[in-house]
């Protein structure tokens, strides 16, 4: 009898029929959304590859700072030397930050699959249990000003859904820059179903980056719950380039006097859907809050900006805005945007705005009048549109090292 059969008899294996659709959120539960989970239904539920056998260095980005690698949702040793110490002791860290992990051993009986929302963390865990290995739940804890930590998530060739669990806690006095990188093996058709629990305590500061460079055939759902205590400082910078379907969804609950800054940059090409959905609940005054997004869309790509501010009655004097800028390079590019404000306080300043257009004729002519051929001028303007977001990520890494 194999390990997998021990954990979950074949008759009870929810993925035996390869029918993920039964477990995904029902269309009715998703009507408010601007992207559809249809691509997830078509994801293959094949067995996860053995990533230990792969030369991981070939696909890891070149990074400065401490690096933690999770491959297929597990902290894996033996990949070019990364994680060696951590895998052996299950703890690691450096001045001001510590991290550790343990297998999430909850069994099917303890899980209540939630068909209404993503992430399908319980569902993913059932799948992983069936495959004979639990996902690792990595916990990062920071209580001092500390250096940059990279967490690299590697997607195998196949497998769906693959759990990827990370808890981040920044305590009072802690200051952490944590950048997550999503990469995958070439032509991966896997679906990473990632869940994050983020807590930033009073006086804590977390700068959180998400860099998604998955293969164009891969899928990602990254869903995170963020709790910000009074006076907490949280900034989230998202850059999405790859994956045929990628949805990054954040539920953020804010105490009083928080500083919140979310910026997303998406480059969406033919056949891709990128979705950043953010809901923020202000439970106390939040004088500095912003959600901004830039979408560069071409071909039949679909980019989604969906943001909601819920301002409770106690959150007087909140000053928060949402802005989305879209550059559509051709007639087939699509942007869906839905900003929402739900305000129960009567002395707040909340706004949202969006701009959508093609490349500016004025700018193109200016560049051509300096001798740049049309295609070079267009390339420069496209690159410039994306540069602001990318430069911020570059600055984050520079400042933190």
């Amino acid at each position: 009898m194999t390990m997998a059969e021990t954990l979950l008899p074949a008759a009870e294996n929810p993925f035996l029929d390869n029918d993920l659709a039964r477990y995904l959120p029902a269309p009715k539960a998703e009507t408010w959304r601007m992207s559809t989970v249809r691509p997830l239904k078509e994801a293959e539920t094949a067995e996860i590859d053995r990533l230990q056998d792969i030369d991981i260095e070939r696909i890891l980005p070149v990074l400065q700072g401490d690096v933690l690698v999770m491959a297929g949702g597990k902290v894996t040793a033996g990949m070019g030397g990364v994680n060696e110490g951590l895998a052996a002791s299950k703890t690691g860290g450096y001045a001001g930050v510590s991290y550790g992990y343990e297998a999430d051993k909850r069994r099917r009986g303890e899980l209540t699959p939630d068909k209404g929302t993503l992430p399908l963390a319980p569902l993913g865990q059932v799948a992983d249990a069936w495959r004979g290995g639990e996902p690792d739940r990595v916990r990062v804890f920071c209580d001092k000003k500390c250096q940059l930590l990279h967490v690299v998530h590697v997607l195998p060739k196949r497998g769906a859904p693959i759990s990827d669990l990370l808890d981040i806690e920044v305590a009072d006095g802690g200051e952490l820059t944590l950048i997550e990188h999503f990469v995958g093996l070439a032509d991966s058709t896997a679906w990473m179903n990632a869940a994050r629990h983020v807590r930033v305590a009073t006086g804590g500061k977390l700068t959180h980056g998400v860099v998604q460079n998955l293969p164009f055939t891969a899928l990602l759902t990254l869903t995170q719950g963020v709790m910000m205590a009074d006076s907490a400082d949280y900034s989230l910078q998202i850059i999405q380039n790859g994956a045929c379907f990628a949805r990054v969804e954040s539920d953020i609950v804010c105490g009083a006097e928080v500083a919140l800054d979310l910026q997303a940059v998406q480059h969406v090409k033919t056949g891709q859907t990128h979705d950043v959905t953010t809901r923020v609940r202000f439970n106390g005054p939040a004088p500095r809050a912003s959600v901004t997004q830039r979408n560069l869309v071409e071909g039949g790509g679909l980019s989604v900006f969906q943001g909601k501010y819920h301002v409770a009655q106690a959150a007087q004097k909140t000053d928060a805005y949402m802005r989305c800028e879209n550059l559509l390079l051709d007639d087939r590019a699509v942007v869906n945007q839905k900003p929402e404000l739900e305000i129960y306080a009567d002395d707040v300043k909340c706004s949202h705005g969006a701009s959508t257009g093609g490349l500016s004729d004025e700018q193109l002519f200016y560049l051509k009048a300096r001798g740049l051929p049309e295609e070079v001028a267009r390339g420069l303007l496209v690159e410039a549109f994306m540069a602001a977001g990318r430069e911020r990520m570059h600055d984050l890494m520079k400042e933190a090292t």
Binding site: D361, G371, A384, F385
Partner: protein, 250 residues
């Protein structure tokens, strides 16, 4: 020579005629000033020569050192040696000045069969030119024209002109939005290029004050889409005293 002959042009959008028979010949080293009231078509002349697609040339021809300018795209005209200093320089968020200037310079070098200029050589050259224009080094890291004052924008135009060393430069109301000091610095920048004697200038302006610093060889009065009077500095002085209506009627 930049040779404009009986040039007629209209707005592509509504076929409204703007240029109605402009003829002008500019030799390398010469400075021609074109003055005229608002709406006369002066800026349109600059745009049409630079190849802006909003305008359609209906008749006439323009050659630049024997090349048919009107057959060339805007970028090819620029690489061939034509430069337009914009009245309202365009902001390019995300494009920093250093990479913009170097890309432009290398596009021109490629046209001439020269190797791209490396960063170190470029920076040395750019910094030397910037010093003469009273620009600090941090300009190089800023996004092109974003958050620039009117004077800073015009200085950047002059910096581009100095680096690109055009055969013919059209300055479209470069004096607008400049205070006295900035006007002097910009004019000195033009004069430094002029001293080399290889660039012909077409300076479009409303006012004589720029011409106090850049002494033109010829002054032309532009009205209703064409040049109606030509002469020397005495015309600019007469315009200052009598206004356009007086000079045009005389």
């Amino acid at each position: 020579m930049l040779d404009i002959k009986e040039l007629y042009a209209e707005l592509a959008e509504d076929n409204k005629a703007i240029l109605k028979g402009v003829s002008l010949a500019i030799k390398p080293g010469e400075v021609h000033a074109v003055m005229g009231p608002n709406g006369a078509g002066k800026s349109t002349l600059g745009y049409v020569l630079a190849g802006r697609e909003d305008y359609t040339v209906t008749t006439g021809n323009v050659t630049m050192d024997g090349q048919d300018l009107l057959e060339m795209d805007a970028d090819a005209r620029a690489r061939a040696g034509l430069f337009l200093a914009f009245q309202y320089p365009v902001e390019l968020p995300g494009v920093n000045v250093a990479s913009f200037l170097r890309t432009c310079l290398n596009a021109k070098r490629a046209e001439n069969g020269e190797e791209p200029m490396n960063a170190a050589v470029f920076l040395k050259l750019a910094r030397a030119e910037m010093a003469t224009l009273g620009m600090s080094d941090n300009f190089l890291q800023r996004f092109v024209n974003v958050g620039f004052s009117g004077g800073e924008k015009k200085r950047l135009e002059m910096l581009q002109m100095a680096l690109l060393a055009p055969k013919y430069a059209i300055l479209d109301e470069t004096d607008s939005g400049l205070d006295i000091d900035a006007l002097r610095i910009v004019a000195e920048g033009v004069n430094r290029v002029r001293e080399k004697g290889t660039t012909g200038f077409l300076i479009i302006t409303h006012y004589q004050r720029l011409l106090d610093y850049i002494k033109p060889d010829f002054v032309h009065v532009f009205a209703d889409g064409k040049i109606v009077k030509s002469g020397g500095m005495e015309i600019a002085e007469a315009l200052e005293k009598e206004g356009y209506s007086g000079v045009v009627a005389a």
